[in-house]
Amino acid sequence: MLIEALILSALLFGVGTLGVLLRRNAIIMFLCIELQLNAVNLAFVALSRYLGIDGQVFVFFVMTVAAAEAAVGLAIIISIFRHYETVNVDNFNLLKW
């Protein structure tokens, strides 16, 4: 049962990573990051069955931080959208010195 859960978690994480790397839409990339977080959450929960309650406690932290991060991230995306009228990350090339 654990193996299957971890395989699923790994697959979800891989999908999330590839999404971040390959997609150009900022919203989609953002969703993919959420996917990565939740893949990790799945692994935590699965392992907590064998290693104790700590994993589930950690999941709560991750969810809290993810909520905060979603708020900040979406705010950034919205302000970028207001400026460029697009959310295609290929247009965002000012992140350098």
Partner: protein, 707 residues
């Protein structure tokens, strides 16, 4: 013996000895403040487009009247305080130096140096000479420098010099002595370059300073060696321990004495470091009298006498001192024969006489060295001040007719005795004194040195001492020649200043000639404080009429005694006859009659030469040119030392510093910039690239953790 000499018994109670040092410092501060005020005022005048030179036709401002009293005043007061101490010391029975400690100068680890002064018979003699002769020269300066716009500055420097010179002779340890040593060197530098707007004079100051640095290096290393050996630098402790700690003739003490000698050759202008002194004549003439004749240049002699215990323990070091002294005495005297600049003749004469002092302290006759130091201070200060009076008169005469002729060139003088009779007489007194004619001061002091040099000829290194003795005798004859030549060229024969100029020649004012007369009296009687026993009892001493036989010798005995004891123990005492037989009296009679004969003959010979004024004269040829060109030593040093050093410095500047050091520093900078530039290639500004590198980074970290 000592009890008899020192008379009444009792402890020595010093009378405010710190005041002797402090007074010139106060003078320096006051005159310095006046100099700053004067400088501010002339700067203001220049700003307003007025002439800064107020001297002609105007009353002198307060800043230029006060130094007349402050400058000589503080030195005179210091002399009075020193005199009181001297009288008290005479009345006391002093065997150990009295140390006055004021504060701890530095306390680092095991080294503790106190700001302390030492009062003993040697420092007493030096204090009296420095403040006494110094006072007379200050008074003379009032007349000589009166019209100089930098009058207060001049006295500030002169007071500062006396201050440092007193530290030098009164310091109770090597570091304190060294403070004075460096201080007088600095004052010498600023006073040689006193007229600093003249490039040549400023350069002469620099030369003096730089040449002295070479000697100071030796002095410093000697101090380090002494510290590592004794763990202290105080005179009393080192000299007490030295005979038991150091091996007689051992390598350590020989090294220390040779290094000290290097320091002394720099300060006292001996071979090989004498070259700065003739150039130092660029300074005002009273400065030459005070610093470069009477006091500072004798610091090396004082230092050897002060460290006599060490030199007595190092026979090779002592021999080196005497050899260098004898070589310098002879060498400089020959150059003095062919110079035309009156001050240059005196400069080489000073170098030569300093050589005698070195012979004195080198052969172990420390009292004789100090004796000659003292009498030389009298008659050489007199000669310099007299030449100053001559230059002063010449300068005024030439100034009146706007002549461009050199007021210091003796070829432009001649026949001056008509115009300045007092100067003429006192200069002859000094000449007879320096030539060693009985009964003038120089006769007793110089003769004693020559006698002791000969009396060493039977101990270790006997042949060397015979050689030194012969060189000293020869140099004594040369002294008589070049001094007579100077006198005849300057004061006798036809006047060569020119018709119009001669009308403006006049005797120096009283403020200048009174110090000359005082010094002349000292040049006559100064030698009587140390008449040798053998001479005092003979007809030369009026069969016992001359007072105070060997007084100075006995007076200095508490200081020089330990060294003399060591010499007697290891090297044997002085012989009682000269190398080729004859007693002290015989040689004294011989040398003074020979000197007198030389004076008379050379006066006749020089009178017979028809000198032309400098601008009509041609450069001498043959041997005379070699002498006139000072054996080309300056050129030799220029080729062997100065130019290689300049080349090395240029190499260090252009190749090592600008090439290698700057190259490495700049290269590192360029390298960092290049790496930075490469790093900017990764910084595309695109979010995707960053995400990609993030993932790659995580994978790398994971890979490192897993395997």
């Amino acid at each position: 013996m000592e009890g008899d000499v020192h008379g009444a018994h009792g402890a020595f109670e010093p009378f405010l000895p710190g005041l002797v040092i402090l007074l010139p410092l106060v003078g320096f501060l006051l005159n310095g403040a006046l100099a700053l005020a004067a400088g501010r005022r002339s700067a203001e005048a220049v700003r307003q487009g007025r002439e800064p030179d107020f001297m002609h036709g105007h009353e002198r401002p307060l800043t230029h009247r006060l130094p007349t009293w402050i400058g000589p005043g503080v030195v005179g007061l210091a002399f009075v305080v020193a005199l009181i101490n001297f009288v008290r010391m005479m009345g006391a029975d002093l065997h150990e130096p009295v140390i006055r400690t004021y504060w701890t100068w530095m306390a680092t680890g095991s080294l503790k140096v106190e700001a302390a002064i030492q009062l003993d018979q040697l420092s007493m003699v030096m204090m009296l000479v420095v403040t006494g002769v110094g006072f007379l020269i200050h008074v003379f300066s009032v007349g000589y420098m009166g019209e100089d716009p930098g009058y207060p500055r001049y006295f500030a420097y002169l007071n500062l010099f006396v201050f440092f010179m007193l530290i030098l002779v009164m310091g109770a340890s090597f570091p304190v002595l060294f403070v004075g040593w460096e201080g007088v060197g600095f004052c010498s530098y600023i006073l040689i370059g006193y007229w600093f707007t003249d490039r040549e004079k400023a350069d002469a100051g620099k030369k003096a300073f730089i040449v002295n640095r070479i000697g100071d290096f030796g002095f410093l290393v000697a101090m380090f060696l002494l510290y590592t050996t004794f763990g202290t630098l105080n005179f009393v402790e080192i000299f007490d321990q030295a005979p038991s700690v150091l091996v007689y003739g051992g390598g350590l003490v020989t090294a220390v004495t040779l290094l000290l000698l290097l320091g002394a050759t720099g300060k006292s202008a001996q071979i090989p470091l004498y070259v700065w002194l003739p150039d130092a004549m660029a300074g005002p003439t009273p400065v030459s009298a005070l610093i470069h004749a009477a006091t500072m240049v004798t610091a090396g002699v004082y230092m050897v006498a002060r460290t006599s215990v060490l030199f007595a323990l190092a026979p090779a070091g002592s021999l080196a001192v005497a050899l260098i002294g004898a070589a310098t005495a002879l060498f400089a005297a020959t150059i003095g024969l062919a110079q035309y600049d009156i001050k240059r003749v005196l400069a080489y004469s000073t170098i030569s006489q300093l050589g005698y002092m070195f012979v004195g302290v080198g052969v172990g006759a420390y009292a004789a060295g100090i004796f000659h130091l003292m009498t030389h201070a009298f008659f050489k200060a007199l000669l310099f001040l007299g030449s100053g009076a001559v230059i002063h008169a010449m300068h005024h005469a030439l100034h009146h007719t706007h002549s461009q002729a050199d007021p210091q060139d003796m070829r432009n003088m001649g026949g001056l005795r008509k115009f300045m009779p007092i100067t003429w007489i006192v200069m002859w007194v000094a000449t007879l004194a320096i030539a060693g004619i009985w009964p003038f001061a120089g006769f007793f002091s110089k003769d004693e040195i020559i006698w002791y040099a000969g009396a060493r000829a039977e101990g270790p290194y006997g042949q060397w001492y015979t050689l030194i003795w012969v060189a000293c005798l020869a140099a004594a004859m040369l002294t008589a020649i070049y001094m007579t030549r100077l006198m005849v060229m300057t004061f006798h024969g036809r006047n060569r200043t020119g018709e119009k100029e001669a009308h403006h020649l006049h005797e120096a004012p009283p403020v200048m000639w009174v110090p000359l007369v005082v010094l002349a009296v000292l040049s006559v009687f100064g030698g009587w404080v140390n008449v040798p026993q053998a001479i005092q009892e003979s007809f030369l001493g009026g069969f016992g009429l001359l007072p105070m036989a060997e007084w100075l010798h006995h007076w200095l005995h508490p200081v020089t005694g330990p060294a003399e004891e060591i010499l007697t123990r290891y090297a044997g005492g002085f012989a009682h006859h000269a190398p080729f037989g004859g007693g002290e009296l015989l040689w004294a009679v011989l040398s003074t009659s020979a000197a007198l004969a030389v004076v008379l003959v050379s006066a006749r010979v020089v009178s017979g030469i028809a000198y032309k004024p400098a601008h009509e004269d041609v450069e001498p040829t043959g041997l005379r040119r070699v002498l006139y060109r000072k054996y080309y030593v300056d050129e030799l040093y220029d080729a062997l030392v100065v130019r290689p050093v300049v080349r090395l410095s240029r190499f260090a500047w252009k190749i090592v510093d600008q090439g290698i050091v700057d190259g490495v520093a700049n290269g590192l900078g360029y390298l960092a910039r290049a790496f930075g530039w490469i790093a900017t290639l990764f910084q595309t500004g695109s979010v995707n690239t960053y995400a990609f590198f993030l993932v790659v980074g995580v994978l790398v970290v994971l890979w490192r953790v897993a395997f």
